[in-house]
Symmetry: C2
Subunit: 439 residues, 2 copies
């Protein structure tokens, strides 16, 4: 799975883009995540690029500078498209070949292009856009800790349902309301009913929450009726991003029986702009979550020895909260949780194999999210519902403010990164949103 | 709501397309449903048209013959697009103006175009295609009879959940696997567990079912964060079609807790090709379903007097089954149920108002389906699960074959039509699919 042969993960690599060589950057030359942007303040067509330090390598400019001539025409065309879908559709060979070429191009003292070629756009001067036209969005529920935490709150005697350890539970999400990091989130209105009320009422959600998740964007799809076997599942993943699955808990509690969450989630889902490839994550692969003794083995269509050995990713996600008062008083965002994606009960490959096991077709640009990433330890719960035990244990902020759920003007910032000795840090940037009042 | 002023619903209207004047046609001049097609056996670009008798009026040809010159450029462009999305996006004024013009054009002895203009393509010589690029698909659960029938099977003491009469329950469906009528449906595989088994197994679904539904395709959308009020909700409906929400009951039973149906439905959803506009349905509007005494009034955002007065549609849907043996023996398809859409507990306008009440954005071409149309009477249940009481009361076919769920090679045909004395029949054509073996 690791592509040591292409040397794109070599720890000693440096770039002629100086900001990419700083120790704490999310985007060293070893990362090279793909994204979509245009010059800020314009309405020009969007174009695709790769983040490097605090810059974007503009692939349209690379094309015009003749730097992509080695590639087949379809790949060159994909590099000048207005979103990542055409590149995604070509499959993993294309993004892999492109990434190797761009890594060469950006290396210190190797291929630094002539000063005439303006290949870089500062991230600060760019407007980032959704990386893909997302046709369908699927949300899994792959953390057994999250499922158990929620189950304990709602069904103390029976927290984990009998199907959980046999199949990766998921539901279809709403694709139209997926927004990019930075988009303000209007508090949704909806029907909710507290047990004390005899009838429901309509109004702004009182229990607005976030859920930190990891998303994967699909590259090459599969034909309807043709399941993807677990052993080739990862070749259908273009790359990963961060997801905030905003959730209105009061709406959810009232509406979700018997068909699952609907309006509690469909008002907005935020994703981070940069799509980190599996190649960049290769050094951080790890075994799949180790099932407890007594847990069933996955059924054959969800089992592969490769997946067991290295189906996991040691990716840390953390959530920071920044209230209006904190911003006014110059107080830094407060980290309220961090967890590792390696603790998910089900792996990416298992989710894809299961998703397509009935013949369902995935398409380039589809978003598949992992579900809330919660770990076993205190401080690793990926939602306020879990952290505050459904509101019974409020969080105290540095300003003295208390939180059980999100207040208007609260900002939620999700960060993700992989770190390991002797490897460059591979970061995801951030997935951020601020809560606006319902009106 | 009725547009008698444009006379497109005048019962006495006849067309110079003779087949449109036959009494039993689905597509008289009063209907004029929109669809997408290309010449059969070619790979040419698709184009949009209107069904008239056994013909398609080709809007691209109308454009080239100069028959659409009265319209603004954007509407002319929408008429030559490769699917209905651009026309849908323009909003109801556009399809309304276009329909009036086409009705004039097709009227007997009025505007019959010169013989040089080849405006018609026989439906038999066309390959029909999905009418729109469907971004999101939402499936409601709006029949209280269906909800009660299912509830009785699964929760005999508590068939209807407490939220049912307060909000139109729905879940997000899978858009990528929506296929056009005529597409064969491969029996899905999946995990299922019967109570007698201690662990689940993986294999072909043994309990494959259909669900007859009415779908509405969205015209003009709404901005994220901007709910659509119930009084203007219908102006966002481009038109209606028939839907078969194929369902694998064994997969569904095992997977659906706690997040709702997923793989039990996502292997395929079939829709009919012709989109019938609300204008064509105007003569068949009727009061919303009359709630039982003691039922709560809808909350204000789901209530409007116009909706109460004429939010319903007296649209009959019927399901026919045709087994391989029946086809071999020359036996006609067997009608196993028929029901009226007027019996739905929630109306289209209520579904749209609810769907967007949290700010969720609908987009042109989105599919919103009603959920299974089941009525109060025996013989009006819209799924085999209901008809056979979960398999306990098999259906006997004319061949002597018994059915509790669908067998391989069974063909399911859904038809829909509006009929009323002194009005032309407005039909939906058919929504058909044949079951293929899992492999």
């Amino acid at each position: 799975m690791s592509r040591s042969i292409d040397k794109t993960n070599d720890f000693s690599l440096r770039s002629w883009v100086e900001s990419a060589n700083q120790k704490d950057t999310d985007f060293p030359i070893q990362n090279l995540p793909f994204g979509v942007f245009r010059d800020r303040g314009t309405t020009q067509n969007s174009r695709i690029g790769v983040a490097i330090g605090d810059q974007i390598l503009d692939l349209t400019s690379c094309y015009h500078a003749g730097l992509l001539q080695e590639f087949p025409e379809q790949l060159q065309a994909a590099c000048t498209a207005s979103n990542l879908n055409p590149l995604m559709a070509l499959g993993s060979w294309a993004s892999s070949a492109l990434r190797t070429c761009l890594s060469e191009l950006l290396r210190w003292n190797r291929h630094k292009p002539s000063s005439e070629a303006k290949l870089l756009v500062p991230i600060m001067e760019a407007e980032l856009l959704l990386p893909a036209d997302i046709g369908d969005y699927t949300d899994f529920y792959a953390s057994i800790f999250h499922a158990t935490n929620l189950g304990k709150l709602f069904r103390p005697n029976n927290p984990l349902l009998p199907n959980y350890k046999y199949l990766p539970i998921a539901y279809h999400g709403r694709a139209s309301s997926i927004v990019l990091s930075g988009t303000p989130i209007k508090r949704p209105q909806g029907q909710r009913k507290v047990p004390e009320d005899s009838v429901p009422s309509f109004g702004p959600s009182q229990l607005l929450d976030y859920e930190v998740e990891v998303g994967f964007l699909i590259g090459a799809g599969n034909e309807l009726g043709q399941p993807i076997p677990i052993d080739t599942a990862e070749s259908h993943v273009f790359g990963l991003c961060l997801v905030n699955d905003w959730s209105a808990r009061d709406i959810q509690t009232w509406e979700y029986q018997p068909l699952g969450p609907f309006l509690a989630k469909s008002f907005a889902t935020t994703i981070s702009p940069w799509v980190v490839t599996l190649e960049a994550l290769a050094p951080f692969r790890c075994p799949a979550f180790s099932r407890s003794q007594g847990d069933p083995l996955p059924l054959p269509y969800l089992y592969s020895s490769t997946n067991t050995r290295q189906g996991g990713i040691d990716l840390t996600v953390e959530v920071l909260l920044h209230s209006a008062q904190m911003r006014e008083q110059g107080i830094e965002p407060f980290c309220i949780s961090h967890a590792s994606f390696r603790q998910m009960y089900w792996t990416m490959a298992q989710m894809i194999a299961h998703h397509t096991s009935n013949g369902c077709n995935l398409q380039p640009g589809d978003l598949v999210a992992s579900g809330t990433v919660s770990g076993a330890e205190e401080g690793s719960q990926g939602s306020l519902l879990e952290i505050t035990r459904r509101g019974s244990q409020p969080i105290k902020l540095a300003t003295g403010e208390m939180r059980i759920f999100l207040a208007d003007a609260d900002e939620v910032i999700i960060r993700g990164y992989c770190k390991k000795e002797n490897y460059a840090r591979v970061g995801f940037g951030k997935c951020q949103g601020i809560v606006l009042s319902a009106e």
